[in-house]
Amino acid sequence: MVNDPTGEAMNAVFRAEVGLICGSLVRITGDFDLAEDLVQDAVVVALQRWPVDGVPERPAAWLLQTARHRAIDRLRRDSTYRAKLQLLTDGWAPDVRADPDDRLRLIFTCCHPALARDAQVALTLRAVMGMTTSQIAHAFLVSEATMAQRIVRAKRKIVDAHIPYRVPGPDELPDRLAEILASLYIVFNEGYLGSGPDLATSRDLCVDALWLCGLVARMLPEEPEVLALLALMRLHEARRATRFDAAGVLVLLRDQDRARWDHAAIAAAGALLEQSRRLGRPGPYWLQAAIAACHAEAPTFDETDWPQILALYGALVRLSPGPVVRLNRAIALEHVAGPVPAMEELDALRADLDGYHLYWAARAELLRRFGRLDEAAEADRRAIELTDNPSERALLETRLEPTVIRATSANNN
């Protein structure tokens, strides 16, 4: 027994074991819903027992045994699943073996396009990563009842609509993989844009997303976009420690202490990008990672290679057109061609992005460049209204105040 286990020690065990166990139980019972419930029950018991008893020496065997006890309990109470549960309680041991392909099949099932994205994310975190419904609800700022309902519905659909448990064939693979990557990036961003490890859940979603993306990359090593997303996450992670000041206020890229970035991780991500580039045409994640690499590799903000970033955004706009990508391209355009063409682009985007706080934040920045301080303050206020993220609000509020003072004194002169 490992005494006094930290949350992270337990999380590492859940990451390593839960997907494998859950995957093999889905294979044996043929019932995703039932198998996932049994494993989740075992996780909940572990979360109660391990902090007291310590993490067992063979945690996988412990979790399996606990899931088996749950299966026997169910068998006594409920005859519906008799045949399936009998499989688990009788011929249990020989069939349960750690087969990495089971886990990959499980990921593809959880991220099936017939499930809504938020359900894909929640199911993956529960079935593959061993997070509890309560932890997921906390991390995504919804009530536990809402999250539980989302998960129950998704699991019922997997069973009722016969969503298969398998790795898709080569024809479907690119589209299906894109679903997985989109869900993983949502998990990462939720961790990244929040204010660091969530104490309420004790799970660091960035670590979870990086771990799972690394796993998918090992299982599908020829897929360029998986490597690209991994590089993208690592580049963000390398700057993570400098994103907040001591008071917890968000620090803009321009003001971050570049000496404290993880330069070894940045170099490793660069190598990963090279490897991805050799495997295929640059996809959306490759382009985003290449942009992140441009920022991460610049020795100072002023030495950022903006023409290169603008070109990459141009390629990204062609590949996945959307107003948010165009907004980012407009910001790069300002650094290359000045504020006038950037403002024209922002004006054109206004109808699409009227409800997006970062549109108004970017607009405020640009208006300050023109000295239009009243309008800048107004745009910052719009941005504040539109975001719930406390650290983003704090940053916007700290820069709003001097803008208002300067605007007032300019108006008085």
Partner: protein, 121 residues
């Protein structure tokens, strides 16, 4: 596993005769393919929704009204039932449905044989 594919069509959109007959040729080919594979369990093309009659029950009494169940410019224009291994196979078949201006809704069919309280035969 049986699924019903519902073909949803925008009834306000008009297409010329040439497009229509090209559609029908492609649709025939689509039917021939799933028929050859032994996966087709029947289906029909429907008259437009302005021919629909809807029966509602008010306090148990049937009330006959003109028109579809829900007024919409997009309506079910036809359906087929297929028998395939799983949802992925149904999706693969639906993706090949030739009229690209239509939508295909896939609905799993309830398997009554699997329900112990609902004996069949």
């Amino acid at each position: 596993m049986k699924y019903m594919l519902l073909f949803i069509k925008n009834e306000e959109a008009v297409s010329d005769d040439a497009t229509q007959s090209a559609h029908y040729a492609a649709i025939d080919e689509w039917f021939a393919e799933i028929g050859r594979d032994g996966k087709l369990r029947g289906g029909e093309e429907l008259q437009p929704s302005n021919t629909a009659t809807t029966i509602r029950f008010q306090e148990g009494r049937p009330l006959v009204t003109d028109g579809p169940f829900m007024e919409s410019k997009e309506n079910v224009a036809g359906f087929v039932t297929i028998d395939v291994a799983d949802l992925d196979e149904a999706i693969a078949i639906a993706k090949k449905w030739p009229p690209k201006d239509q939508a295909v809704e896939i609905r799993p069919v309830v398997n009554h044989e699997a329900m112990p309280h609902h004996p069949v035969g």
